[in-house]
Structure formats: C-alpha cells, structure tokens
Assembly symmetry: C2
Homo-oligomer: 332 residues x 2
C-alpha cells in the first residue's frame, strides 16, 4: 500500500515516461552523439572505456536536451513572456538554442568571468546576456530573481526541474542503447541534473548499473550536501571546471541522488587538466574541463578499476583556446 | 565500341563494385564517422558546411580504410611475409592496425621528424618503425625498397593502389549516404588516394558533384603534375600539414584526377593554422593540419562560396600537442 506523496521532491520526480517523451521529441532536434573508444585510453585507464561525446551536441553540451524539453512543455503564454536562466554558459547556450528554435526571447545571467565563447555563442543565437556585477553563481541567481520580478520572464531552471532532468536523461538513455554492455557510468555533477538524469535513464532502461558522480576537489557541494542531509551552499575558490560551480545541488536532483545512494568522488585540478589532454589526444574530441572529471577520477584512482565497460559522459566542449592550449601542453 | 585497355592506369582503376565490396568488409571494422555541422562555422565560411569527421576514425585517420581493404585482399602468403609501407604516419597507423587485426607483421618507414604520437601509435599496435637516416618522404620510399629487397616484405603502397583507393572511397560514399544534399566535396590531397577515392565514390553513388582538391601552397605537387602532364616530384620546404608531403601523386590517382578534370587549389600555412583553430573550437573535434586545408581554402577564398552544402573531409586528427596549442592560440 502506497502512502500519499507529499514532499515536493516526490511530487515532481520525473518518471520513465517523461524520459521517453523527451527522447521522442528530441530525436530530430539534437544530435545522436557517438560513443567513442580508444585502445590508448583504455590502457591508460586500466579498464574498458566508452565515452559519450556530448561535446559534439548542438551548442556544444548536453544542456540543450533539458532546455529544449523544458521549453517545449511550457504553456505558450509562458514562452511568450520570454525565457530566463542562470548559467556558467552551457545551460545558457541550450536555452538560447531552444528559444531560437521555438521562437521565444531568451535572457541569461552569466558570471563576468564566463568563458567568452559561451557568451558569444548565446548572443549568436539571439539571446540577451546580463553579466554586469555578477561575480559568481549565487549572485547570478539573485540577479535573475530581480529580472524575473521586473520583466515577468519565465524562469527555466538550469538543472533543478523535472523537465530539464528528463531531457538530460536522454543522453544516458541513448548511451545505454548504443552500448548495452556498459556496467558503470561516471558522471560530472554540480547542480546534479545530468546525474539525476542518469539515475532516471537507468531506471527507464530497466538497467541495474553502478553510477558514480564526480566533482572538483575545490567544489564538493554534493558531497557536503549528502553529509548535511540537505542541499548546502559552499564558498569555493575558482576551479578550471567552470561548468561545475552551481552554488548548491538542485533540491529535486539531490533527493534523487540521495535516494539512489550514489557515490560521489572528487578530483584535483591537475588531474582535470591531464584528463582533458588525454581525451583530446586519444579520442580527438574537444572537451571542456568539466567534462573531463570522470576520466580524472579514474586516472587519480578516486574510483577503482572495473571488469566491465565504464562509460564517461563527456558533458561539453566549450573551452577557451587558452585553457585548451594550457591543458594539452601540461606535463603529462 | 571500346578499345582494349592497355595503360596500367586504366587496367588497375578500381570500379564501383570494388568500393561496395570494401564497404561491406569495412562495415564492422571501422567507425561510421559522424557528419558534423556548426552554425558558427557556416557563418564564418559563408556557406553551408558538413564535415566528415574521419579524425574520429580508428587510428585517427581515414587511412585505415584503405590499409584494411588492401591487406584483406592480399594472398595469405603475401600477408605472411610481413607488410611494409612508407608514411608520414597515418598510413603507417592504418597498416599497423590492419596487421594487428589480420595477424600480419608490419614494418613502416617514417621520416625522422614524424609526429611522435604517430610513431608511438604504430609501436603500440605492434608495428616496427624504421626512421634512422630518413629525412624526407622520397628517402623513405628508397629505404623501403631496400627493406623489401632484404626481407621479402609485401609492400602496401600508402596511396597508389586500387585496393587502397577503393578503401579510401568508402569515407566519401558513407558521407554521401549520410548527407544526400551535398553538392561539393573539398578534399585534402597529396598522394591523391582520398581524392581519387572521392571521384570513385561519387561515381559509385551515381552522383554528379563538384570535387575540389586542396594542397599546401608549399607542396603543390598535384598542381605541378597536372601542368607537366605526369606525376612530378617537387623539392619543398616543410609544411605544418605533415600528412600532405608525398613526393609525388600516385600514378593511378593522378590519372583519375586528370581524367575527371578536378580543380586543385593551394592554401597558406597561416590559413591552415587558422582553420585548425576554427574546426577545433566550432566542431569540437581535433584535426591535424592536413585535415584543415579544405576549410582553409574557403577561408582564404581560394574556392568560391556555393549555394548548396559543401562537405569537408576531415582526414585525420593525429596532431602533436604543441602544434595544437600553437594553432588554437594563433591570432584569428
């Protein structure tokens, strides 16, 4: 006998049907990104790897999946008021793309030190960018609240929304279709949307699979939140993984991560740089630092080797040329 | 009424059936590489682009297609004598992979200044590398002739062989299946195998399509050969496009290029660097300089803009970290 669901987390938790609906909608809208392999990388890692190259996704990251799925499910009048989000860049690019496709105006609040290519990309898609005086992610959320109040925009959360999570889940669901033998998923996490999506995708596919989340050592928000038992905000120094700096995990996502008892590990900045280098040179795809934390965790032995195939979710490729050059020429 | 065919070129010219046979064989052996698009790149180029990402191919270049196709068609006793080739690197990697898969020993002669990752890659696949005293491609062919004499190896030409050309053609045939609306192909060329393969693939697909070959300004061997009416060797300074330094076009390939009246253009070193940068940042794939000459030709206006979609064959991604860093940080 099930009790009535009362908590917001349980009410809003997306279901497998939501993921399948998102997948149907997104089929012709996004790229079915390849799952890449490299013997050289397997040797380096000491285990068989498959890398889902969401860096080759439209807008250069998986974020477009959730943004499109959320935007299509909004009532037309909500879209007509204009869409608003907060982002280090990839969620902004995703929402700008969704606005471009669905004919909705988009405004994004990004920190002043966002990767310039991410800012330019949003503008190229017709999005308005607000950066003045925004020094960090927490400040960006405050500014967005003001803008919403002033202009009546419809806020699309960059990660803490069941429609966004269901969209993100399609990346993992696709991967599990492409590579049925995957036994472990290693997922970058910060707001927790991709990680919650992975949990949901495994459920949707009816697969029991080990899932590990990875954060930078410098921004262990989900680790601390799990210790505290609730989403917890951290002050943190800058990390090269600019996409993994959400002030705290999403409430929905945190609930899903905690319920599924997911292991979260953290990695050093040096390992992230080295992992970018190895991915670029072995797989020939360009990843941003945030996307390389999974390989970094394996290289740094923060997670063990496995017998079966391990999948890395290469979440995005929007890296500045200077950081790319720095990573590939770092002593390895 | 057809006259009897007497020239070697005409006798050995591969036919559509050879391409289809290669495609059948290679289907489970190589990656069906994606055809990538980017709105940012289209804007830069002033035309619609599709990029066939053979940099994501096994061994990091299209060369594995021809090497595998040639090696499988050799008599078993020829394979058993051990395979030999000459290469700046990608043909060597391709043949080493073919030897690895088909159980044949492989020896490759490479110039002393070959990209270290290419040399290491051949060794990792179990190939023996000969570099001592080999200062250029012409010297590499001489050394290979000596080795063949001494050891009885079976020589697999890196580009001038109908089986190699039929294998290379499968990259273009795949592209034409993936992107039926392509109206123009822009193809890096040096030995001419990929270009001859493109001509053959268009014929196989029954498509009338504009095909343009691109060489570095510094190594215009096919341009000079067409002027001379026969394959002509050139002294040339070093180019950043290390894969486009065959001493002269293959005889078979030259005949096919001349018969098809293909336009060949050349591009500057600076444009090649800039094109690497743009491909890396917009398409998120890692290309070596040789693979970027097609976009360089468009950026430098060595070929005109077109109304229909233009396909770039991104031939490979085996670039040294230092050259990659240099290209992406070059003023653009």
């Amino acid at each position: 006998m099930r009790k009535a669901v009362t908590s917001v987390d349980m009410v809003s938790r997306p279901r497998p049907g939501d993921v399948l609906g998102a997948q149907d909608y997104l089929r012709d809208m996004v790229v079915r990104t390849p799952a890449l392999r490299s013997m050289a990388l397997d040797e380096l890692a000491g285990c068989r790897l498959v890398a889902k190259a969401e860096c080759l996704q439209r807008t250069g990251s998986f974020k477009v999946r959730g943004a499109l799925n959320c935007a299509r499910l909004l009532p037309p009048e909500a879209r007509a008021r204009g869409l608003l989000t907060v982002s280090a860049g990839n969620a902004a690019l995703g929402l700008a793309y969704a606005g471009h496709v669905l004919g909705a105006g988009v405004t994004v609040v990004m920190p002043q030190d966002a990767v310039p290519a991410k800012v330019e990309g949003v503008r190229a898609l017709g999005g308005a960018v607000v950066q003045d005086g925004v020094t960090d992610a927490a400040g960006a959320f405050r500014r967005a609240a003001q803008l919403q109040e002033q202009h009546g925009y419809t806020f699309v959360h960059p990660f803490d929304d069941p429609r966004v999570v269901a969209g993100a889940a399609t990346a993992t669901l696709e991967l599990l279709e492409q590579e049925p033998e995957v036994e472990r998923l290693v997922v970058p996490c910060s707001g927790g949307g991709l990680l919650a999506g992975a949990i949901l995708a495994a459920e949707t596919a009816g697969r029991t699979i080990e899932i590990v989340g990875v954060q930078p050592d410098l921004v262990p928000t989900i680790v601390r939140s799990l210790e505290a038992g609730e989403p917890t905000e951290l002050d943190h120094p800058p990390t090269i993984a600019d996409g993994l700096t959400a002030p705290r995990p999403g409430r929905l996502n945190f609930g899903m991560i905690r319920s599924a008892d997911i292991q979260i590990v953290t990695v050093s900045e040096a390992a992230i740089r080295a992992a970018v280098r190895e991915i670029v040179l072995a797989l020939k795809v360009v990843v941003e630092p945030s996307a390389a934390v999974g390989l970094a965790a394996i290289m740094e032995q923060r997670i063990g080797v496995a017998d079966g195939a391990t999948a890395l979710l290469l979440s995005g490729g929007n890296i500045s040329p200077a950081v790319l050059a720095e990573c590939v020429t770092a002593a390895g």
